[in-house]
Subunit: 346 residues, 2 copies
DNA sequence: TTGAAAGCGCTAACAC
DNA sequence: GTGTTAGCGCTTTCAA
């Protein structure tokens, strides 16, 4: 045991255990355990004595032992895949920060894992079978989410960041941001500033997220009786595509404003404007999506739809606590509304 | 026990244990453990039988039990603090991706934790005392690193990403990128392209990293017999500061090129050039540092010093394996050289 | 080469 | 309220 080898004032060879605290406080191990986990069970004076011993020894429960006994790790698994498209991983980054912070407040840590980007299930299975995590946060739902279905059959607790587009009434817990509402907000903002011919540059039709965001633009235009014909373009999510698409749209439809499905595409529009000597914000307005670093730093500042990722994290942890609670609360579905970060480009 | 309640073809109520495998293979639990950890101890036919049972049951050792027994978690702690200065957290993001990937190959997972940004020690202590992680990767060494000294006294294994600037011969393991070499590379590149009056915009003097990067610029200038007087500026790391500093430098010293300590500052230079109708790359060259998203997306592309973060991760995991090995290898200090990502701005 | 026994540090269940 | 007992699933002795 560690007791005799521990020399006061020196760095302990091994951290103190429950038994060390119990001996010091003159109580049983169980009482110490109760002092930590159910303090209301102890008589006040016993509690104080135990707490003093805990403080003196700098005791903290051994995680492995507690995990083994309680069959829970207080760890949340998050697949952190290598950078995906354009500015998207900046969003992921901001989200992870919020998640780490919020999880901590709820007593959880975030375990990052990776897996073959081509295999959406890679990594999940091992962690689940080895009981290394209590639950997952699934973020890569943009392709449809086989993970969600797979985790459901495994009865693994998880919360998705992103809707199950292919199965809207799936019963699992998810939190998402209303992209349509965001783009509607952006478009309405432009309409209020006097624009009438507002173009859309979005992603290809097989992207659910892209179609959702596009729907917001359509909705706002229709609501104000504005035509959309010839004003929309669907391309790859690259700066280059944004540039060519905006060039074509300017030639063929002469829009005075652009709403884009991403900051990456919006950057392409800014490039086109610069090439043509037209000033963003004054001659042509541009709005992006994601409020990335780029939007903040580029001249003259890119107005952009901002996802409330801090709130997403809060809702996810809330949902997670529900799933893992005793008794578990039923899964919730939460849709949050983004805001608009106004800058010089509009 | 889980045995009787498990129905073939259905989702198991609890994952199989060593005992389940042993029963199925008709051997003792210990033999199964050996099959997993020391297969060379088994007779080939026994090994095959056990491995078959493992495969049939989908057995994977329970992490908590193994952690408790071996006193190791195979988890690496990384403090993931809320976004710091400008583009710096994009670098962090890229680094974390690499670290997760490399750790996985070495059998480790990355545990993210957060802590009060004002307290550099926050979070470390609890994880250490609760034996939740085997080691730390310390990244926030830019302010000097009390963490490193503190972890050393606690005999906690850790590797720092970043040199101990305030104590260059500190014995702990660290990996860093040679910022001076990077800026020397950038400056030499500009000299080779014919520039002679090359300005420096860097951070304030109390930043060790900033002074290091600046030294690279000085070195390259001196090596080519070029004057540096009046060509340097030290400011805050913001776009705005970069803009004003470059405006002043252009007025007073008329440089034909800028080397900056960050992409953020370089963006400020680009803003100034645009304001004055001068084309980056053609009229005035600009080089940034960190090869951020912004550098890749802005027009006409920002040449930038790129840190070899993938290699940093590899070296860190290598150092970590050394520290945690049996017997441990002595700590190493590794300095890596960055490269230059060439783009339109130069 | 395989098996039996012990115990890592903790908490659930129950007795006092 | 507090103590006792048992056992989570695994690996490290050590004996067969």
């Amino acid at each position: 045991m560690s007791g005799p080898t521990r020399i006061p004032g020196r760095v302990p060879a091994a951290p103190p255990t429950l038994a060390d605290v119990a001996e010091r406080a003159g109580v049983s191990r169980q009482t110490v355990s109760n002092a930590v986990n159910n303090p209301e069970l102890l008589r006040p004076d016993t509690l104080t004595r135990v707490q003093e011993a805990i403080a003196e020894l700098g005791y903290l429960p051994n995680r492995a032992a507690r995990n083994l006994r309680t069959r829970s790790s207080h760890l949340i698994g998050l697949r952190f895949s290598p950078a995906q498209e354009g500015t998207a991983n900046a969003t992921m980054d901001r989200f992870v920060h919020s998640l780490v912070e919020t999880s901590r407040e709820a007593g959880y840590h975030v375990l990052l894992f990776s897996g073959d980007p081509r295999d959406p299930l890679a990594g999940y299975d091992d962690l689940l079978r080895s009981t290394a995590v209590d639950a997952f946060v699934v973020t890569d739902t943009y392709l449809g989410n086989p993970q969600a279905r797979w985790l459901e059959t495994r009865r693994a607790p998880f919360v998705a960041f992103g809707r199950p587009w292919d199965k809207p009434d799936a019963p699992h817990a998810w939190v998402d941001v209303d992209g349509a509402a965001g783009c509607e907000l952006a478009t309405t903002h432009l309409i209020e500033r006097g624009h009438r011919r507002i173009a859309w540059i979005g992603w290809r039709k097989d992207s659910w997220i892209g179609e959702d965001r596009r729907a917001g633009w359509t909705r706002a235009m229709r609501a104000h009786g504005l035509a959309t014909t010839g004003l929309a373009s669907r391309v790859e999510d690259t700066v280059h595509s944004g540039r060519s698409a905006s060039a074509v749209l300017l030639d063929e439809a002469d829009p005075t404003a652009f709403v884009c499905a991403s900051d990456t595409l919006a950057m392409g529009v800014l490039h086109t404007l610069e090439e043509r000597g037209r000033t963003p914000g004054r001659d042509v307005a541009v709005v992006g999506f994601d409020d990335s670093q780029v939007a903040q730093v580029v001249r003259p500042g890119l107005t952009s739809v901002r996802q409330p990722l801090e709130q997403v994290a809060v809702e996810i942890v809330e949902a997670l606590s529900g799933l893992l609670g005793h008794p578990p609360r039923p899964p919730r579905q939460v849709l949050l509304t983004p805001t608009l970060a106004l800058r010089g480009s509009s």
